[in-house]
């Protein structure tokens, strides 16, 4: 079961934060197909936010085709990351960790590493698949 949190200072509107958290969880394989998302009531009792925010986030996710609401039962995950993508996450993470070690070893600070990553990320267009 995913546990939500709210970053009050992030500048991102709350419902989008929840949407991103679900997407991230899906991508990292922490949520699988058929998993139930916590009910609106459970979420708001835990993190004290407006229920409409949660409802809106769930509706957005449903609109994106990632989850489906079953009346009287709850909201369940429908989409999932494919197993191959999940499988490739491990080696990719490993490579990234090694790169970070090298970057730190050259003496770059956190901000510089982040800037380097962002810059490169933006510059390199996605390869058409």
């Amino acid at each position: 079961m995913i546990e939500f949190y709210l970053d009050a200072k992030s500048g991102v509107t709350p419902y989008l934060q929840l949407v991103h958290q679900v997407r991230r969880a899906l991508k990292l394989g922490m949520l699988q197909e058929g998993d139930q998302l916590p009910t609106v009531r459970e979420v708001v009792a835990r993190i004290a936010i407006n229920p409409n925010t949660v409802s809106k986030a769930y509706r957005e996710l449903e609109h994106e085709g990632l989850v489906a609401a079953r009346a009287g039962v709850g909201t369940f995950v429908t989409a999932t990351t494919s197993d191959e993508v999940l499988a490739s996450l491990g080696p990719l993470r490993h490579d990234l960790e090694q790169w970070l070690v090298r970057a730190r070893a050259t003496g770059l600070d956190e901000e510089a590493i982040e800037a380097l990553f962002r810059d490169t990320f933006r510059a390199v267009a996605p390869v058409a698949s």
Binding site: G11, E42, V44, A45, R46, I47, A48, I49, N50
Partner: protein
């Protein structure tokens, strides 16, 4: 659900010489969690007590759920009130407070009330006077909720609570909203709390309503404009200046946008809810400084 949760027309309340609330016009729809924010002494408590029927207006009128507050037993049963500092009978036990509610209210969900108390870990035999501030607030809320009101009014319920107690209280409140069709009006001077839980905001400053509306609309409808500090530099046309400040090089305005923002010469930024509230709360001070376009009062 066509009636408003709260309607005020020219509402005013005077204590001897001082007007605690003046010329208030509000049309708050049902089904929202409404935040009432303002500095201390702005009139938040007065407005809530007027809505609960504890006070009578000196001027104007107020209607709650389509009827005059506290006009009869049925209307009282639809409105719940949680007072500041949780007014409870110090010598009465927790259990007896629930009995009080059961005997004094037509509809009373005893099972839910007891379940909630058990969840909170409140012992039924403790006298209310021996509970902590957070526990008293939770008991007060439990009593108000157990009669299944359509509207719940809370007067600074978390003001004297520590952060954990505050989070638990608001969590309980929100889970109630999630489960039932209830409107909430909650006053606070902490904007951060209100941002999390409210979707409608009323800003009260100096006994007047400065602005009221859905939070999304408020945030979308206000902007920060940054421009050079030149005396001749024209202030924007279809924008109402709410607050202004200056450095030696720059002028910063917070404006309410009555139309699309097309302002060459000004840098446009979006504002957070806290910025909007602070802008309105500082309005009194701004009115003293000279600006090309004069700020006007609330909508």
């Amino acid at each position: 659900m066509t009636e408003l949760a709260l309607r005020a027309e020219g509402l005013g309340k005077r204590y001897r010489r001082h007007w605690a609330l003046e010329s208030c016009d509000l049309h708050v729809p049902r089904g929202h969690v409404v935040g009432l924010v303002g500095p201390n002494g702005a009139g938040k408590s007065t407005l809530l007590q007027l809505a609960a029927g504890l006070l009578e207006p000196t001027a104007g009128s107020i209607e709650v759920l389509g009827a005059h507050p506290a006009c009869d037993s049925a209307q009282l049963g639809r409105v719940g009130f949680v007072a500041q500092d949780a007014s409870l009978y110090a010598w009465l036990s927790v259990e007896d407070h629930l009995r009080l509610g059961a005997h004094c209210n037509a509809s009373w969900d005893a099972a839910a009330a007891h379940a909630r108390l058990a969840e909170l870990g409140l012992s039924p035999r403790h006298r209310a006077g021996r509970l902590s501030g957070g526990q008293r607030a939770q008991l007060s809320l439990t009593i108000a909720l157990a009669k299944r009101p359509d509207l719940l009014l809370l007067d600074e319920p978390v003001a004297s609570l520590d952060p954990l107690a505050r989070r638990e209280f608001l969590g309980l409140l929100m889970s109630t909203v999630a489960g039932a069709d209830v409107s909430i009006v909650l006053s606070s001077h902490l904007v951060s709390d209100l941002e999390r839980v409210c979707d409608y905001l009323v800003v009260l400053v100096d006994s007047h309503v400065r602005v009221a509306g859905e939070i999304e609309d408020l945030v979308a409808g206000h902007h920060r404009l940054i421009g050079p500090r030149q005396s001749g530099h024209a202030a924007p046309a279809n924008q109402t200046v709410i607050a202004a400040s200056e450095t030696d090089r720059q002028r910063v305005l917070v404006v309410r946008s009555d139309g699309p923002v097309v302002e060459p010469g000004w840098e446009i930024e979006s504002v957070s809810l806290e910025d909007v509230v602070l802008a309105y709360m500082g309005q009194g001070a701004v009115l003293q400084s000279s600006l090309p376009s004069t700020p006007t009062a609330a909508p």
